[in-house]
Symmetry: C2
Subunit: 932 residues, 2 copies
Amino acid sequence: MKLPGQEEFDISSTCENVATGEPESGPGSGLSPDGPSDTDSRELGVPKDPVLFIQLNELMGWPQALEWRETGRWVLFEEKLEVGAGRWSAPHVPTLALPSLQKLRSLLAEGLVLLDCPARSLLELVEQVTRVELLSPELRGQLQALLLQRPQHLIWTTRTRPCCWSAHPREASHDEEAPMKEQHQNPLRQKLPPGAEAAAVLAGELGSLTQPLGVFVRLRDPVVLGPLTEVPLPSRFFCLLLGPPTLGRGYHEMGRAVAVLLSDRQFQWSVRRASNLHDLLAALDAFLEEVTVLPPGRWDPTARIPPPKCLPSHHKRLASQLREFKGSSVRRRAPAEDRHSHRPHPPSPELRRTGRLFGGFVQDVRRKASWYPSDFLDALHPQCFSAVLYIYLATVTNAITFGGLLGEATNGAQGVLESFLGTAVAGAAFCLMAGQPLTILSSTGPVLVFERLLFSFSRDYSLDYLPFRLWVGIWVAIFCLALVATEASVLVRYFTRFTEEGFCALISLIFIYDAVGKMLSLTRAYPIQRPGSPTYGCFCQFPDPQGNESQWIRTKPKDRDDILSVDLGLVNASLLPPPECAQRGGRPRGPGCHTVPDIAFFSVLLFLTSFLFAMALKHVKSSRFFPSVMRKMLSDFSSVLAILLGCGLDAFLGLATPKLMVPREFKPTLPGRGWLVSPFGANPWWLSVAAALPALLLSILIFMDQQITAVILNRAKYRLQKGAGFHLDLFCVAVLMLLTSALGLPWYVSATVISLAHMDSLRRESRACAPGEPPSFLGIREQRLTGLVVFILTGISIFLAPVLKFTKRVQLLLMPAKYQPDLLLLRHVPLNRIHLFTGIQLACLGLLWIIKSTPAAIIFPLMLLGLVGVRKAMEWVFSPQELLWLDELMPEKERNISEKGLEPEYSFSGSDSEDSELMYQPKSPEINISVN
Amino acid sequence: MKLPGQEEFDISSTCENVATGEPESGPGSGLSPDGPSDTDSRELGVPKDPVLFIQLNELMGWPQALEWRETGRWVLFEEKLEVGAGRWSAPHVPTLALPSLQKLRSLLAEGLVLLDCPARSLLELVEQVTRVELLSPELRGQLQALLLQRPQHLIWTTRTRPCCWSAHPREASHDEEAPMKEQHQNPLRQKLPPGAEAAAVLAGELGSLTQPLGVFVRLRDPVVLGPLTEVPLPSRFFCLLLGPPTLGRGYHEMGRAVAVLLSDRQFQWSVRRASNLHDLLAALDAFLEEVTVLPPGRWDPTARIPPPKCLPSHHKRLASQLREFKGSSVRRRAPAEDRHSHRPHPPSPELRRTGRLFGGFVQDVRRKASWYPSDFLDALHPQCFSAVLYIYLATVTNAITFGGLLGEATNGAQGVLESFLGTAVAGAAFCLMAGQPLTILSSTGPVLVFERLLFSFSRDYSLDYLPFRLWVGIWVAIFCLALVATEASVLVRYFTRFTEEGFCALISLIFIYDAVGKMLSLTRAYPIQRPGSPTYGCFCQFPDPQGNESQWIRTKPKDRDDILSVDLGLVNASLLPPPECAQRGGRPRGPGCHTVPDIAFFSVLLFLTSFLFAMALKHVKSSRFFPSVMRKMLSDFSSVLAILLGCGLDAFLGLATPKLMVPREFKPTLPGRGWLVSPFGANPWWLSVAAALPALLLSILIFMDQQITAVILNRAKYRLQKGAGFHLDLFCVAVLMLLTSALGLPWYVSATVISLAHMDSLRRESRACAPGEPPSFLGIREQRLTGLVVFILTGISIFLAPVLKFTKRVQLLLMPAKYQPDLLLLRHVPLNRIHLFTGIQLACLGLLWIIKSTPAAIIFPLMLLGLVGVRKAMEWVFSPQELLWLDELMPEKERNISEKGLEPEYSFSGSDSEDSELMYQPKSPEINISVN
């Protein structure tokens, strides 16, 4: 579906707000209770507080027809009732005016604060609340009746009249304390985790009051207060802010201020534990200490800020507070800290050298053996079905694409059938045995490029390709086993972003170049008919009744000597088109018989439409149309849909475009060979020894391709529980190399993009989350079953091969495209240094490209290894800090620096698992103002 | 270049932050002094304060190597020094922590505040500032030396070492008080208006101090303080915040807080007038009252908020404060207020009915006559040259496009030559005479559609087209003059958005339909060669030496009877392609001779590439690449560039695509007619009377097309000084109608898009503005010269006609596309009401489309008029408030509502000139978080 080195999936894209939690340890630890504040509270080491749903009921209609209306609600973000539209606003970051907070503070300071109030019903609560000295008995009665009145919630009004409140009956519901049916059916309830509590804020202006009345109640035992809140949750907090109508909007704003305060986890934590008014006010002051202030006049206060995709975690709040009050010595190191909190490759036990032969391998086997049963049990989840479907489609598309490319590259020595068979066999075997069973094996770009070079070499020297290839495979397997034995996989520490990018960019470039080249070569195969080109020069010649061909009678030789100027004097000829002519026993003659018009432009059109359609569908994900599920679907299957569109167009017009050849029987694509490759064929015996040389190069390539993928897959940000298996994986690849070489099947290594897609389809996320809050990433369903089923299905698909007559042109839409937003980087490194770094990368790439274009092309794997050396040499040019931002530090260098004190003092990096991608992304959340 | 009814330009796109200023009145009021706070201060009725440039110098390197470094600067937004990158950040909205403001307040309250300090140099100032009791004499000396030390500015360091500060020599510059060369060359200086002042904030930690030291100085006479600020402006304010190093980052934040305070216009205004410490603190408290507070934990405080495109104006600040403290009665009407502040059509004197025959026309002539000299004098500005170039290109493209379309629609009765000639004559005449000379006359979609219908009618009834058309034109002129006489133009008040949208959508739809239809019809003219289609059936037949045609010898009759199955027995025939065959005296024979392969697909390709290229270029404007000037250029000329690309591709491949026919001589396109159309031709005499019926329909069309454009152009948001001329314009159109009909030239009315482009290219904007602040819109250069020159150039272009052999396909890229973000609307009207409204609009459109497709098509102008009626009927279905949001109120309805008290109490609408578009746009500024 995609080539390695294309863009990378960002699986943990809903950001690392829970990144610092200790990983759950031990096998079988299932889902942790999902809740928005789950890991955060664990982090703080305090018992988890329930999630709080806060509702603001406002007193409206003064003085004629007093009634309570719900006008706002909060869990983490604010949802505001659009009164005119009769609808909730999108969740947004609440903004407050500072005076409303200050007024609230003074109102609470003078008001009634009941902590651990024992009321067990709304009636009791109302009695407690109205026991204030300033109220006359008459006023108290009026207020009690008012407080018992059922508030107007949107859920009810939408059922009665869609866009208008006023006509709804407003009977008092004194004795109707049981929550209503509509309350239970409220969809918001599904979003709140079990155990959630409610807080009701009542605010407004009441003409009969002479003084402001502020009451804050914390109930000892939370109790459902009848229809007070729209969701029938037990209420923990109750706040009443009433006053004479001089302040106007002030009470609304004060009500919002209480709600925003209560939606702040820190404030909530304090207020749940407050024992007196002083604690409450202290919590408010602490909140004020932490607020961000936007100056007036440079910001429209009515603008709504959508929720950031990444919430600053509590730990960050702590850290920023620390930074605020620490000395300047801390300040000076701020950039390094930021950078350091996303560590490149955290020291993993899998990559520690044991010093024994096959030591790492044995460790890998031991570690993975203990997880083996759970690798199958953990797959029992419906999510795995959709993962299988998704990855199956991707794998089949990949197998077709690479099958076609390989068939072309090796002149039919391998084809689609081999591609399917090999993918199924190698993939399934790998999923059963490997250390990291989430990896999906596939033909990859680099190996394809090498195979192409190998084939042209063997054709140039008239070698028997498959036996030669068998020996290369045998040698590669030997070298790889040697690498496993010597624990060479620990060297992956030296693969930084610089190496990865160089590697991927070269492969991408090769593919784009080939795709465009193939497109243009079509205009040679199917020339475009310019005015004057020999379109019309074709006729059909039949044998005369005696069986001889019809005579040519040259009557008038012309000045031009080509056939165009030869006058025709024919018998037994017709103007039938070539296929029909042949069918009737004639022979097409003439220069125009081999031209097929329209094919070239139609192919370009097909190429463009499929490519643009795929790109457009990819972008659907971030559009505002369609529900998000549909968008994700369209975006994920964009390539498949674009291929289908291309094929559909082609089938509809029925033109003779070149098609992919798919065998109809289960036998090797190359005619006349059995499944087992003969070890020598027509090659001299010494070639089996000489094959060691290309095998060495291929080994480097396979080692790098395999391990770069493995490093990316096992990054700490994905929170894999069952550990990696670098040595075991390489061992499996080596064994499969032997098998596929012997059977003449393509070679397989781990494919980055498709493996990441596999992991992405298996990610576990918290289900319940506050409106506006992105679901938090909990981990990946690590198991062997999905991969296994995918490859078994792929194997079965061989018998579907006749169905797969895909248009070949659509390969071209696989052009990789790279997107790299890199804004945070720009804050810390001078532009000329960035350009120098990029320049070196480009120079390397140019060098690689030149080498690839010379006869020495086959040694390009060596050059890739050279990238690691160049990167090492760059430490003479760039400072460690710059490299920290531009690339990644090599591990031992990193250690040196941290020993020298560059490590931040209050870093939480011990269990920090944030990803190294982040610093290439804009500092989140970044705001863009879109006005229009 | 574009069709009317495509998207509308938003000329005053840099938003209406100055919208409430009274329009400058009287002729000749030229440029007002350009400054960022120009109109705002006028609005407040206070003398204009100078713009303030604020710089924060921080004390770094404690304790080893103390030095001052500039780390931030402000005018309106904050620019932060990226120390690592050695570069200024992008301007952003400054955010503060509340404690830093509070700490600053207490520091100032205890510190030294010198208002109207008489110091005349840095030395004197430093002496005054250090005269604080808490300083020992020794410390005072140290501090004085420190303050006199030259600070490190980025402008100097970039010259010496790009990315590192430390190595710069730090010699004290006691006697070097003159500003340095680098200071004068600072590019920031260009951005500050003359008279700007500076404020220097110095903050940091100093180990030798035991107590915090806070000094705030307002200089009596601003004086250049040597190299203290990076721009050598006279400094008005000086603030010093130093203390022992316990607070750490606190001093930096307090320094930022002072800077942000000083960059607030309200605070600055107060502090310039403060007479004692109490006033200063009161100003600070007033600032605090107005700040917006973001709660912690839901916002990353390190995220930078880019400047909003629309700054909340002072008047809005005032209004929101009012709303804050007014009673709930105000609150209830908030939506209507918001909506009302963008009034649809402010009552303009041009549209007041006089009640006399030609009364409005006479008024128009009188009004415009007084401006006539200035209409030429005001054009003496370099901006007009670029406007001419831009509009000339657009006009020529338009003339070519419509010429081609008209030629096709009228079967050659009108062509490109007529289009050019008519455009030049009519346009120039209109620019000389019209009431609104900014209008650009052009063929428009509606008129083209009508002309097409008229032509098919006259063809169906075998009428002589041009004479018939002449009579239609005569009648139209008569009707239009009657409309002028009866002052019918005052009816434009009934043209609301509903009518405009229906009108434009229909025309767009017709064009898109035609474009796609024409594209598909190409596959009939140039059939695609499927396998088996008769590509090959063509040969060249020569006469035999006796001059007879070569003989056909039918030898074997086949079962099929078409020519394909006829066996050829030819002499004197060859396979030459048809053109060459004809050249050599032969005759192409056979079914395949007329097929030209590849043309159909190539045309589709050309269409797609030009269209996509134009769309891509249009979007360049909002991309992040290239400088903004280049982006605007690419975007503005996107259509022209795309046409050039298409032509280039076509020329490169040299295929026989259908081309636009351009005459080589100056004579009418239709052969055999003179320039003057004969009044009867072959038509019966009564047709000249019957022509009144289609003329009535065309008059409706022309009236609507002309007046909709005029209304859009004369909207108050464009702040035209010289008034409109609805009646005069219509008069001119009527006269030109007569002229063009008599000469057989196309008919012309005002074209919306191109006229708006004309105004856009003539917009006056403030030149000096703070970093991050969009330039403010000052008005349009209203004159007649640019239009006149454009049309004279267009006339000259007739002689360039042979050059203009443009490919015809590129017309298709003119497909109109509509973009309507409509978010604010959603806040106030229920979705089902919006859908109902849209449904009615769609139903109307469907009805119009159906009518357009029936034989009754020619009456479609009547249907357009029907839209106005439908809109009126909708007042029974929708409430006035809903219509206010969904459409616009009709003027008299609006008046009723405001009389009934819906008019907001504190509306500034008397001189409010905000546009009616705004409510279809998202409430600005709208924030989008892009995190990736």
